[in-house]
Symmetry: C2
Subunit: 309 residues, 2 copies
Amino acid sequence: MQEVEALMRAQADDAHPDLRAALAHLLSSGGKRIRPTLGLLVGKMLGAPHRKLVTLAAAVELLHTATLVHDDLIDGALLRRGNPTLNARWTPAATVLTGDFIFARAAKLAAETDHLPLMNIFAETLAIIVNGELTQMFASKGFADRDNYYQRIYAKTASLLEMCARAAAMVSPADASTIESMRQYGYHLGMAFQIVDDVLDFTGEQAEVGKPVGSDLFQGLITLPTLYYIEKHPTDPDINCILDGTFNTEQGCIERLVRKVRSSDAVATSLEEAKEFVEKAIGYLSDMPDGVERQALEDLARYTINRRI
Amino acid sequence: MQEVEALMRAQADDAHPDLRAALAHLLSSGGKRIRPTLGLLVGKMLGAPHRKLVTLAAAVELLHTATLVHDDLIDGALLRRGNPTLNARWTPAATVLTGDFIFARAAKLAAETDHLPLMNIFAETLAIIVNGELTQMFASKGFADRDNYYQRIYAKTASLLEMCARAAAMVSPADASTIESMRQYGYHLGMAFQIVDDVLDFTGEQAEVGKPVGSDLFQGLITLPTLYYIEKHPTDPDINCILDGTFNTEQGCIERLVRKVRSSDAVATSLEEAKEFVEKAIGYLSDMPDGVERQALEDLARYTINRRI
């Protein structure tokens, strides 16, 4: 992991000093490094060449970082994980270009893995993530449909974790069925991860999560707990303000809805679903070589649902 | 070229309809298609596989398109080539993401050429372009230095044309010295191309160029004609307003400077320099296989300096 961090930081070595400082700031702003951890564990477990794995892990985390930079710009977010965003410190123009630069370096690292099919799914995954964000942006916000939700969280989170586990298997001496198992592991881990994120938006403490409780709903974003609440309480008048888009004008409606979702069993139902994804993810590990990495991948999956942030 | 156009358009086929419409709008907004033309001609001349060449040409033009989308956003430009920019029609958020999506598809196409070194220089070129834009943004605007100017136009324009010619040679059955000659051809063509662009900013008619005469200087951007003017007239008091950054406040200073540059021999000197780049570019064609493509590459180089827009 230290090698991954060093490789990421080195990507701006020959760039403008301000850009170098920006990348250092972004990389030191925390982040759980789930994606590189996942890639390193899968690759180590399957015997991937060390250098290739480090390069892949850095490429994936930089791709993720670049999407966050543009996301914060798009949302006008001034804080991420309690730290000022690039967006808060710089002009939008510099922020757009810094994101682009990090994309370019991520692509360069991906190319350095010397593995064309990997390069291909790397580019494909970026397209999925961006198309997902655009679709969400264009969609009428109050769209209450679980299928739509699963598509959204796949594009937003699971696609990159899926790619990460799959790519690490691809650069290993692994057969097609092992690669497919690791893709499935990454997919299920990613789905669980995002569902828990969406639950924590309701149940987490502001100080831990770093944003106000119910912030998704306040932005008109319907996630799994709200979907389950709506399914169980279709006649609650407060759900109309979120479905018909009047949530900004109708006084107190979202506040009430957040309280009701929090205290309903929708939270437990959502967590139950995340647990099912985690169990499925762990199931895909059953044919993998026994050892510390496999154990760590099991732990990683369980951590997904036990974390507080 | 029709196949290239079709392949570019097809890149949003499985994306959100609004995104598909945006890409169609961008691709139909004109553009001289210099980059794909260059790639196709070099590749055909050297016997590159047809399909690979079409894919490469589409990848390069999409990369170029993506950088334009973000540039227009950064500059707040509402028109490009007389057509409304995406930026003028959409929100900044949608514009950032559309640029990202086009980057992703460009990278995907580049990966489909099945050529890792190419993928590598593709990503490297994107980093050069973006780092160049950031450097220009951070630099104090009134920086009058020809070396700095050449670095800027390399990053802005010549790097991509260089990559285009080089990559087309790389996917051909060509030896290292042929690839290097084509890289040089693309580099010199690109330098000439941007110098002429910068001259046209002074000499072109607004209706043809699509922006007001002297628009670079009005933005505080010093290009080659101004640099030659400053070298010849170091004591002209009007050059201070551009060097010390007071060009926005000092009434009439830029208007006078534009008039003086236009009527000085700085324009002819700059064009002479562009011609030298063109002659050097043509020189690198001398060992290439004789035929219609080589002749077309000579014509392309000469067109660079004879064009009106």
